[in-house]
Each structure stands twice: as structure tokens, then as C-alpha cells.
């Protein structure tokens, strides 16, 4: 394991991830701000940070039993969606002022719908939206997406809370968003170093915090942490036995990354939902086109969601995985999916073969429960993968260690 000195705010950040309604969310609401929950990358995060609103990407930390949700959604559906329903029934999202839903994957859509059917939040102005998003990128689908954002998201924010959704307000939100992205990207880039000053676990925590907390409250500590990492004293030699990139469906639990790193693999890249790719690419705005259209196009082009059906997006997903693994000098790729996820179930099965056979990457292909921290089976598979990567490296070096 590594011997890097603990980051000053790491425990604080970890604590923020222990609750959806964390300390900073509460502080922002006490200051009169409005919490808008969301889960999916298809909802542009930056649009939820307009005016007095701030975005909270929903998680269900410390999930234990999901029995109530299983009654409603059966036991062979996405555990993430079920964990959210369970937490919602328990009252864990009562703090929200709105929920920006998207009808992208059926099981997550049913989470939003259960929010409505079971009346999980009774704030008088609380709203749930169901945005319809396209499956491919064409001029007309970009227009369709923009229209949906106006009619099915911004309009709700305007009408329910009087939120300013003007171009100026959007540009202002983009500025703040971009600063978060720049900091996270700068930290993330350090993972490409042979002897990096940040671990995959730490990066995962930092990145998640930016999704789950009001930006203006988390930024000061992020800036400080960036400086701290840059100046961090390094271990005399790299601590890991192998470097891996992760590709796949939603991971909002840093303990999964910790488990992988405990097995000796440094997680150099996080190409999954709730990871930094996509999500932490700054948005470049021009003056010659409608701001909302530019934002929508940014999210469409950066999205790596398996739901995008068109050939170029299918290819993009493979190329992105390859490019990230190369850029961060990975030894192998872990393709993962949340158990019962249809999109990533199909994607993982096919692409884990392609990345190995055509791109030449050693690939570990796994499905996993939402709550993966206690899975001995996964730990064993990670350990075996690390060993196989080490053996490959030794073979490559002609048997010399």
C-alpha cells in the first residue's frame, strides 16, 4: 500500500459522502438555496446550478437492506435504482426541492416514478420531471434535446421557483462549473504519472464530492486540496503492482475503488457514470450560438452512455476507453456493470471481447452489486487480475522482474 501523507480534508470529504443530505447541502438550504436532485448524465448538471438552485447527484450511501424497494421493483432489477427507492421511502430525499429525471433507462425511470407514486417528498413546490433524450446525435436530435430542456426542465424551475434561466444565468453557472472541472481534471491528470501524488480512491472521493455538494461551498476546499496534492511528498517508489482503467456503469461508492487498490491495482482512469469521464470536462462556450444548444451538444458529444445507439457513438465508447487507458498508462481495463443493468450488460459482454481481441488490452469483465464493499468474490477477482497483469508484464520483459 501507499504511504502518502493523508490529505488534510480527506476525512471531511468522506464524511460528506456519508449522507445525501450532507452538511454542505444543509448549509446551502439554510442560506435559501434549492436542492435539485438528479442521477443521470443526460441531465446537464450545469443547468441545475442556475440562480438559487444547486445540483445534488443522488446516491444511497451506507445502503443495507433494500427490502421495501424490492417489494415494489422485484429482486431482479438494478440495485442502484432500488437503493434509491428504499432511501426515498425512508425519507432520505425529503430535503430535495426538485428531481430532474430522465427517461433514459427503464429502471432509473421507475425510480423517479416511484418518487411520485409513493409521494416520497411532500414539499409543496417539489417537482419531478421526466425528460426525453435522444439515442443519437443529429441536428434534429440536438434540437429535440434543447426543446426538452426548455419544456421539461427549465420551465419547471422557472414556474415553481422563479429561477432565472436566462443565457446570462447559464453562462454564470458554466463559469463556476468549469472551475470545478478544471480542478478535478488537473488532479486527475496527475494519475498519469508513474509515481502519482494522488490515489485512485482519493480522486474518486474528491470527484464524487463535486457531484454531491453545492459547488460554491466545496470550491474553497477543492482549491486548497489541489495545491496540497501538487506539493505532496511522494513515496520513494510507486506503491502499486499494476495500473487499471475502469469502464462501465454507475459507481458512486469509493470503497469499490479502495477494494481494487487494496488488491494492488492503481485506478488511473474512471470512465463510468458518476466518474470524471464524462462529467468533468470544462464546457467551452462561444458567442455565436444559443447557449443552451451549446451545452446540450457538449453533453451529447461527451456522453459515453451505452444507450447511444448510433455507430459513431458505439465506436466513440471503445476509442475513449482505449485512449484513456493509453493516456494513463494502464496495464489493463476493468469493464464493470451494475448487476441487472441492461445497457451495460450488453455493452460489457461485447466490448470486453473487442477491447481484448482488437485493441489488445487485458480485460477483466465483472458485474457487481450496488453495495460491493463486502464482496469477497470481487476482491478475489481483482487480486487475480492484478496477478495476471504482473505475469504479462514479466513475460513482456522476457522473464525479468
Amino acid at each position: 500500500m501507499y504511504h502518502l501523507k493523508d490529505l488534510k480534508h480527506l476525512i471531511y470529504f468522506e464524511q460528506l459522502l456519508e449522507e445525501a443530505n450532507n452538511e454542505l447541502v444543509q448549509q446551502a438550504q439554510a442560506e435559501g438555496k434549492l436542492a435539485i436532485g438528479y442521477t443521470c448524465y443526460h441531465i446537464p448538471e450545469v443547468l441545475l446550478n442556475l440562480g438559487e438552485c444547486f445540483s445534488v447527484r443522488l446516491r444511497a450511501p451506507r445502503t443495507g437492506s433494500i427490502d421495501m424497494a424490492t417489494y415494489y421493483m422485484s429482486n431482479y432489477t438494478c440495485e442502484f435504482a432500488r437503493a434509491l427507492v428504499e432511501r426515498g421511502i425512508e425519507g432520505g430525499y425529503n430535503f430535495l426541492d426538485g428531481l430532474a429525471g430522465v427517461d433514459a433507462c427503464s429502471m432509473m425511470n421507475r425510480f423517479y416514478e416511484h418518487f411520485e407514486i409513493l409521494k416520497m417528498n411532500e414539499k409543496p413546490k417539489f417537482f419531478v420531471t421526466h425528460v426525453d433524450v435522444p439515442f443519437k446525435i443529429e441536428d434534429y436530435t440536438v434540437r429535440q434535446y434543447v426543446k426538452q430542456m426548455r419544456v421539461r426542465l427549465l420551465k419547471y424551475m422557472e414556474e415553481n421557483y422563479g429561477v432565472d434561466t436566462s443565457d446570462e444565468a447559464i453562462r454564470k453557472a458554466v463559469e463556476e462549473h468549469n472551475e470545478v472541472c478544471r480542478i478535478i481534471s488537473e488532479i486527475g491528470e496527475l494519475r498519469a504519472l508513474e509515481n502519482p501524488p494522488v490515489t485512485g480512491y482519493e480522486f474518486h472521493v474528491l470527484n464524487l464530492v463535486t457531484y454531491c455538494c453545492p459547488k460554491y461551498l466545496i470550491l474553497p476546499k477543492l482549491r486548497e486540496t489541489l495545491e496540497e496534492i501538487k506539493a505532496r511528498a511522494l513515496d520513494p517508489k510507486p506503491w502499486y503492482r499494476a495500473r487499471v482503467a475502469i469502464v462501465g456503469s454507475e459507481i458512486d461508492d469509493p470503497s469499490l475503488t479502495k477494494m481494487i487498490e487494496e488488491a494492488g491495482a492503481f485506478v488511473v482512469s474512471d470512465r463510468y457514470c458518476y466518474g470524471s469521464t464524462p462529467g468533468r470536462e470544462p464546457i467551452a462556450l462561444r458567442d455565436d450560438e444559443d447557449v443552451l444548444t451549446q451545452i446540450v451538444r457538449h453533453y451529447m458529444t461527451t456522453s459515453e452512455c451505452a444507450r447511444y445507439i448510433s455507430d459513431e457513438k458505439v465506436q466513440q465508447r471503445r476509442d475513449t476507453a482505449d485512449a484513456l487507458a493509453k493516456k494513463f498508462h494502464a496495464d489493463g481495463i476493468i469493464y464493470e456493470q451494475m448487476k441487472f443493468c441492461d445497457y451495460w450488460g450488453f455493452e460489457r459482454a461485447l466490448v470486453s471481447h473487442i477491447m481484448n481481441e482488437e485493441y489488445g488490452w487485458p480485460v477483466l469483465s465483472i458485474d457487481r452489486p450496488y453495495n460491493a464493499r463486502t464482496s469477497g468474490q470481487l476482491r478475489t477477482r481483482f487480486q487475480a487480475f492484478v496477478e495476471s497483469l504482473e505475469i504479462k508484464r514479466i513475460q513482456k520483459q522476457g522473464g525479468k522482474q
Binding site: M73, S74, E113, D311, G345, L350, S352
Partner: protein, 594 residues
């Protein structure tokens, strides 16, 4: 205007370019396999099995003779005129076919036999139009062999039916199998490994089996084929074990077993190369659900040179602001087909087909009207399959189907006037089927009527778009086409919000005045599974009898037909306190039966 012939006679005339050397090589390979099979067969066991069959037949005949001998004169007359009443006798454990044909009474048996002959005649005539490639398909694809049991499929779907109900069922299933036979020949002609009709291939537009066929109505010079329909979807209804090797193949490849067996089977068919190599382009689709969306990347992987258009529709189809977007996608799809085939879209042809489709829909609505009365007439699997096929695949394109609608309508109205019973002497409960049905048990509604007297008046997959399609204005027509596609079978209910499947069920229960809800529970359908609790809870609040029946669409190994029946038996006995109409059908084994 000259009456259009269907299918376009030019398609039949296109020449095959069979690679005879390749056929000889394949024949040699198949011959080797047969030789190995013969060598490896335990002929003693085969002999013992035949002996067992003969003894069982002897016992059955003796048993039946004894039963007849024990009947009163009136019962014998009834048997002679109206047929047998203990249909469980037709099944024998471990057998693929029933032990004999059903005795339906003198008149109905004669009619049934006539339809049996008519179907054979149609098969032979159709295959005879290009016999060699059609027969050759059986040497390449195991699914092609399964179509030899099409007659068994017809028999089991009409089991227990008499009089008008039997006649209507036969008329409808004939049309489906005519479509099957014609498309089987076209698949065989086009397949590069088989008929290799290169000119015909230029006219063939393949589309995903989950995509409706109406878009092809505007291309009368092209042949639209739902690509996986015959090798995967429909054949799994005919022979319950056909998709098992596909599912095993794709799961060995790495696909999780919890995914929907429809796209899983499609992908598995690709993995084991069970789909013909053919066509000028492919229309993939995001419908009806997440799994289907993902299957398209497997298709692209297998056939990288086949140009693909991804037809994708808004999921929240009730949002009026999305209709234009869907229509735009259809426009692009039409343009794509024009570019890839050189054909021109014809509004005249499209409108002509839609006029037929509208009339067919009005006939359909009449059926619903009759079935909503205390004297339902047209029920059972043939009708259920016909409705789906007509709505999804035919869509008014084939003018011959209109005659069937007219004949069926005439029989139905006459039967209604006479207050006939769809299942003579058996009707006890009014039922509705909700959610997606098991493919390997297409005749489930037939069994439940024969065994327990539950008449399935309608099923969810029939209740789709019934608004007349625009037949004059082109822009409005595209919008209507988009609305139609968005409300395809399954998607109409499982997409666009829970109210489409939950609230809609309670609404339909009122309309059809049902006593009983048969709630299919496809163990891999995430769209339905995620509403299980809500449906259960609300059914209790509304005091509906709801029987949950698990199944796994195309994989009878997960839940067998017998296990499905067990759920009904248990509920009917314990909750309803009912007695079976035909006790011989309560318990029997049909795990390998077609």
C-alpha cells in the same frame, strides 16, 4: 388503377446464383454429422422407446374404447357430434407431438382436416416457387427445421375450439403462415450461402423484428423483411426449444442471464451464425426497450458492411412536442432507404396501404366491441397472434388480408347474433392478460379456457393505436406514422410512464368487465418488474383477482409451461374455490412438446 399483386411477382422471378460447390461441401458436412449421429445413437434405447410408445398407444386406445363403452347413448351422440372433452389425453410425457389429432365432432373434424390440408397445400405451393433454396435452408439452420411442426402449432392453438370459433381461428392462422412461408422462401433465396439471389438482395430492406412494417408500405418495389422474426421470434412460438441454443451461446459469450430473452436470443443467433446473410440495408431500432436498443451493436459487429439506420423514437411518446422529432426520424429513415436501394418512396402506395390498415383497424374495433359484451366470440391464441402480426408486420400492406378480416367479421357477427359460446359450455370467468406473454406457451389462453373456463377476452399486446391513419396530407401522415410506431406492441404500455401500464390496466378491466387478471411476469422484463409492487398493491385495493405467472419469454428452462399452469391451478383451487372444466388438463407434462 391495376390491382397490385402481393408479394410483388418480380421478387419471385429474381434468379438465384447458387454456389453449387459450396452446397456440395455443406451437404458433405451435414452428411458427416448425420453419420456421426447414426453411429452414436443407442439403437437399443430407440427400440425400447418405440416399444414403449406402441404399448402406450395400445393402452390409450383400450382406455378410450373403455371410456366410450361406459358412456350413455346421449354421451356417445354428443361425442360424435361435438367432440371429446378430455383434452389432457392428447399429451404423453416426453413426446414432442400430441398422441393423435383432436376429435371435434363430425363436422368440425372434417373442417379442421380441410384446413390442415389447405395449409399443407399452401406450404407446398409457396415453397414450390423456389424449392431448392427453401429446402436447402434446413441444411444450414436448425430453426428452419422447426417450421416442419407448423401444423402442430396450428392444432394446439385451436385445441378445444368448435364451430365459428374454430373457423375464425383457422382463417387467421392461415394468413400468418402464408406470410411465414413466403418470407421463408425469400430468406432462402437471398441468403448468400444459399439462393444468393443478388438482384433480389438489392431490393431487400431488413428491419429489426421489433420494428413495425408500415414504413415499407411506401416502397412497393422493395421487400421489407423483419430480419429476426422467422429465425428467432416466431419460431420460438412454434417450437419452444428453438431459442435455447441461442440463449446458451450468448450467455457463454458473457451476456448476463437476467437480460430479456428477445434481444438475448437475437444476439445469440448472431453468435452462432443462425441468421441468413442478406439484404441491402438494415433498419435497427431502439424499440421497445433497453435490451433491444443494445442488440443493434451486436448486429453491426456481425455484419459490418451492411448499412444501418437507427430508427429511434422518443420514449415519452405522449409529449406532443416530441411527435415532430419522431416524424423527422422517419423522414431520415425513408431517405436512407432511398439512398441505399435507389427506390423512390410512393405516397400513393403508402396511402393505399393505410386505407386498408384503417379498415382493418375498424374490424378490430368491432371484435373488441363484441368481446366486451356478455357474448364474446373471438378469443384464443390465433386471434391474439393475428392481431399482433397484422398490427406490427402486415400493417395493411398485403391486400389479401382484407378478405380474411371480412370473412372473420361475418362469422363473428353471425355467431354473436346466435349468442354462440366461444368455448362451448366452458365459459365461467372473464379474463384479461397483462404484460408480455411467454413465447413458448402461445396457447396458454387456450389451455386456461379449456381447463378452467377462463375466457381471455383481450390481452395487453392487442390494445394499441387505433386512431385512423392520415391518408391525404403527407406531413400529418408522417406524424401519424410516428404515433403508430411509438405505440408498437409492448412499447405502448411499458414506455412513456407507469400510467400506461398501471392505470391503463384498471381502465381496461372496467371496459371489458373482467373477473380475473392473468399477470404475466417475465422474469427478465425490467420495465414490468419495476412496477410489480404497485400493480399488486393497487389490484388488492381494487379487489381484482390477479394471478401472477412467472415465465422467461423464450426460455422454458427457467419456468416451464407446467410450472406456469401450476400457478393457475393453485389460485383457482385455493382462492377461487373452483372446479376444473376439464380435469385431464390440470396436470400433464409437456416440457418437450412443440
Amino acid at each position: 388503377m391495376a390491382k397490385a399483386k402481393y408479394p410483388n411477382p418480380a421478387f419471385w422471378r429474381e434468379k438465384d446464383h447458387i454456389d453449387w460447390k459450396a452446397q456440395a461441401k455443406n451437404l458433405k458436412e451435414v452428411g458427416g454429422i448425420i453419420k456421426d449421429m447414426v453411429k452414436e445413437t443407442d439403437w437399443r434405447a430407440v427400440g425400447a422407446r418405440w416399444k414403449g410408445n406402441l404399448l402406450a398407444t395400445r393402452d390409450r386406445v383400450a382406455d378410450e374404447a373403455k371410456a366410450v363403452a361406459g358412456m350413455t347413448h346421449a354421451e356417445r351422440v354428443d361425442l360424435l357430434l361435438h367432440g371429446e372433452k378430455h383434452l389432457g389425453r392428447l399429451y404423453r410425457s416426453g413426446c414432442m407431438a400430441t398422441v393423435r389429432r383432436e376429435w371435434r365432432g363430425v363436422g368440425d373434424t372434417a373442417y379442421d382436416f380441410y384446413e390442415w390440408m389447405r395449409m399443407w397445400g399452401m406450404f407446398l405451393t409457396t415453397f414450390g416457387r423456389d424449392l431448392l433454396p427453401a429446402l436447402n435452408s434446413t441444411l444450414y439452420y436448425r430453426w428452419a427445421i422447426s417450421y416442419f411442426c407448423a401444423h402442430s402449432f396450428m392444432d394446439k392453438n385451436t385445441m378445444g375450439q368448435r364451430g365459428s370459433a374454430l373457423r375464425m381461428s383457422h382463417l387467421m392462422i392461415y394468413d400468418i403462415f402464408r406470410y411465414v412461408a413466403e418470407n421463408l422462401v425469400f430468406l432462402s433465396k437471398c441468403d448468400a450461402r444459399n439462393g444468393n439471389a443478388t438482384e433480389l438482395n438489392k431490393k431487400v430492406v431488413l428491419f429489426d423484428e421489433m420494428t413495425m412494417g408500415q414504413i415499407m408500405a411506401g416502397f412497393p418495389d422493395l421487400l421489407g423483411i423483419p430480419y429476426q422474426l422467422l429465425p428467432v421470434f416466431l419460431v420460438s412460438e412454434v417450437d419452444q426449444l428453438t431459442c435455447v441454443p441461442y440463449i446458451d451461446a450468448i450467455e457463454s459469450f458473457g451476456l448476463p442471464a437476467d437480460t430479456c430473452p428477445v434481444p438475448s436470443s437475437e444476439c445469440g443467433a448472431i453468435v452462432i451464425d443462425a441468421l441468413p446473410h442478406m439484404g441491402s440495408c438494415f433498419i435497427s431500432s431502439s424499440m421497445p426497450c433497453d435490451g433491444s436498443t443494445m442488440a443493434s451493436s451486436y448486429m453491426a459487429r456481425r455484419f459490418p458492411d451492411l448499412p444501418v439506420f437507427h430508427l429511434t423514437f422518443p420514449v415519452r411518446y405522449e409529449y406532443e412536442e416530441t411527435v415532430e422529432d419522431a416524424a423527422e426520424d422517419i423522414k431520415h429513415c425513408i431517405r436512407f432507404i432511398e439512398e441505399k436501394t435507389g427506390a423512390k418512396w410512393s405516397w400513393d402506395a403508402y396511402f393505399a396501404a393505410m386505407k386498408r390498415f384503417n379498415r382493418e383497424t375498424s374490424f378490430e374495433l368491432q371484435k373488441w366491441e363484441v368481446n366486451q359484451t356478455p357474448y364474446p366470440q373471438i378469443i384464443g391464441p390465433c386471434y391474439e397472434l393475428f392481431r399482433k402480426w397484422n398490427y406490427e408486420m402486415d400493417g395493411g400492406i398485403d391486400p389479401r388480408v382484407m378478405k380474411t378480416f371480412e370473412k372473420v367479421n361475418k362469422i363473428m357477427l353471425r355467431a354473436y347474433e346466435r349468442r354462440e359460446e366461444a368455448w362451448r359450455g366452458k365459459m365461467k370467468y372473464r379474463g384479461i392478460v397483462w404484460s408480455c406473454p411467454a413465447h413458448y406457451y402461445a396457447n396458454f389462453s387456450n389451455w386456461i379456457a379449456n381447463c378452467w373456463g377462463v375466457d381471455i377476452l383481450v390481452e395487453m399486446e392487442s390494445l394499441n393505436f387505433t386512431r385512423p391513419m392520415e391518408t391525404e396530407d403527407t406531413e400529418t401522415a408522417l406524424h401519424d406514422l410516428a404515433r403508430l410506431y411509438e405505440r408498437m406492441v409492448m412499447r405502448r404500455h411499458t414506455n412513456g410512464g407507469y400510467h400506461n401500464v398501471v392505470n391503463e390496466l384498471w381502465r381496461q378491466c372496467e371496459i371489458w368487465k373482467v373477473d380475473l387478471i392473468i399477470m404475466y411476469q417475465n422474469v427478465a422484463c425490467k420495465n414490468m418488474a419495476t412496477l410489480q409492487g404497485i400493480l399488486d398493491e393497487q389490484a388488492r385495493q381494487k379487489n381484482y383477482h390477479m394471478i401472477w405467472i412467472e415465465h422467461d419469454l423464450m426460455d422454458p428452462r427457467t419456468v416451464s409451461r407446467r410450472a406456469m399452469r401450476g400457478k393457475v391451478n393453485e389460485y383457482m383451487r385455493t382462492v377461487m374455490g373452483a372446479e376444473p372444466v376439464d380435469p385431464s388438463l390440470v396436470e400433464f407434462e409437456d416440457d418437450t412438446t412443440w
